[in-house]
Symmetry: D2
Subunit: 221 residues, 4 copies
């Protein structure tokens, strides 16, 4: 479940499955299914195709995540999740930073994106060294401020945005699918795409029937 080298996404807990979705939709508690049947599959597809999203809200996932600050910032724009993150007001320990394996060129067509091409190995190595040195310098300045007694909430301002952030993040399946459609998408930044794909793998174990519909609807486009 490693992502981006020193990051990760891990399922801590979940509630419900494909059957729970279908049974919430039926709501006729006497006739609810005990096992996922072909009839349930048909109902699930009907709800998916007709955007009856509320039964998909009945399944819940809680993840532990470690990701670069710039990824967490994109993630937390999704306001239907619950978040708890390690606060840098509270601790100066366990500083960790993202080092890019490859640097990508700016896209020529899309002002907001990167291209698929990466810099030459040499250029990449040179800039990588520069980034590593910059991280070391940043930590030195940070530690100097902490040593002088500066409060953590101010001292952190010198740390660069590839700082790794740890959080617990909880969401229901309906809103998770919206997240995945936006974040495992060519327009999204490659780094958050990797987290999205890892989440797809994880939840396919829990809601395989729903994820079949998800993959099929992605393939159509």
């Amino acid at each position: 479940m490693k992502v981006l080298g020193n990051g990760y996404v891990e399922l801590l807990e979940s509630m419900g499955d494909d059957l729970a979705i279908v049974n919430a939709a039926r709501k006729s508690f006497d006739t609810e299914s005990k096992e996922f049947s072909d009839k349930d599959r048909k109902l699930l597809r009907y709800m998916w195709d007709n955007k009856h999203t509320s039964p998909f809200e009945m399944v819940e996932f809680k993840f532990a995540v470690k990701a670069p600050l710039f990824v967490v910032r994109q993630w937390q724009r999704h306001r239907t999740w619950s978040y708890n993150e390690v606060s840098r007001r509270y601790t100066s320990n366990n500083l960790d930073f993202h080092i890019p394996a490859e640097l990508r060129f700016q896209s020529k067509e899309n002002k907001q994106a990167s291209s698929c091409e990466t810099l030459s190995k040499n250029k990449n190595n040179d800039l990588n060294k520069l980034i590593r040195k910059h991280i070391r310098n940043s930590i030195t300045i940070y530690n100097k401020m902490i040593d002088e007694g500066v409060c953590r909430e101010q001292a952190r301002m010198v740390l660069p945005q590839n700082m790794m952030v740890e959080m617990v993040a909880k969401v229901d399946l309906s809103n998770l699918i919206k997240f995945l459609k936006l974040r495992n998408h060519p327009h999204a930044q490659l780094e958050i795409q990797e987290y999205a794909r890892e989440i797809e793998n994880i939840i396919t174990q829990i809601v395989p029937e729903t994820m079949k519909l998800y993959y099929k609807s992605n393939a159509k486009k």
Copy 2:
């Protein structure tokens, strides 16, 4: 778990407990607690007292509910829950209605509430008979319309607002506590208070430490 005679509230599924709240708050995954300790109790109280509500969002409950329409209407004003209810567009079966055990007088002080006093046994019986007859008449008219081929979505308009509604309702602990504070409150309608108290009993089994703080904070007022 019966409420109001023919209604009920029942826990279908839940995710997380007191320990999950505290561990989400710590977010230092290495040092997380395995068992709820005195230190955890102290942290839980600190978060409660200082309104750090986000860790309480990490616990989730899914209920099956059957309640009169006028109660469901008050319930669904809470927009942080997920709901799936049996639609009267879809089925004309299993019609069921709330019969009040006791009728209360209008409050003299609060324009919006009922008083604690109830009507005399005789008056109560007379009006009860009237209500039962009204329900029978309503069903007769409804069935006549259905028999003539009228669509269910229109025919239901003649059914009175004590019609029982079944739903699946899911919410996190933080928002459930806000619900309970408003709905197990003397200003709330007595009928929804009964559902709120039943929910308090149910979740005390799951998050006993949090509910101790809840009961204590209610007692203070």
Copy 3:
């Protein structure tokens, strides 16, 4: 702005327009547009096509609505709106009810919907009389309970679900568009479709460029 005879939807207040959407998206406050240009139109279409919905949240509408209870119930399932409604716990005045102009047959294909065909004029008249009589009976029983001193919050339980409800309802443009796509849709109940179409007419005055994109995307399907 009359809907369904004795109902209505009326714009009370709004904030923002097409230009506000585009300028929020630019966020470069120096170079913001003063008038909606072709460049703005291009940006608006780009955001619409790529589901960049957040700038559309920057426009806000506040409506006064009067609608049958069964329509209001469907409306209030949309949890991104703010609602204030006249409470029947508070007042026993101004009771008003929806009388259907035409009764529709149950659909044969869709278990949840009505067909386009309506009952014969004679059948319609007969059932209409029955509904009117039922309303009168319901009011008589309600008033009897009120006269006996029964609290309003209980007495209302005998009133049928075609009771008219008045509310103030506020929403941003992005979530209003989701509402319109679901509610001015052949699967939605005809009665709420009429409110949705009226809202489309109203907001086309405020955000004409966005509504062009909306109508175009509906036409494609």
Copy 4:
């Protein structure tokens, strides 16, 4: 409306006022007030005291904000706002950074906060120079990466967290009050407190009666 030197918060647009709150609560459109009266004041206070928050949702504010990244991160944890911010995936222009006027000591009592005491003038000057130099170095590395063709979405990772961020942020009054109670609070970071106080000043012009209740309830604690 300047905050923290090179930051600001500015009201772009608003909808509604004290009267709109009261009239939404009355919802009896015939008897609505034209001018804010003593009766309205009494109703407003009743709703405030009894936490009838929904009428306060009927007023809406849209702000332009420029704030350090670490402040914006705290701000955006409030999920009831709408946000649009200048994306560093999109532009490499107008880089600007927060320079702290004063550095505060770490609090001894509260692990999460700063103390009221600030570092000596000399220490402050020394560290200030260090921060300024660090910013210049960070910009140099950033520009080098941009010059080599590295995509903006990756290059930004080297920029420190005192980078200034510009955004449009919209919220209703009820949720804004929750924000202000948490953020103009001694437990909040001093920097975001300054934005909260500036917002209090701004909206007191729009909803003076509500803000009287707000200030009074703060004074009680």
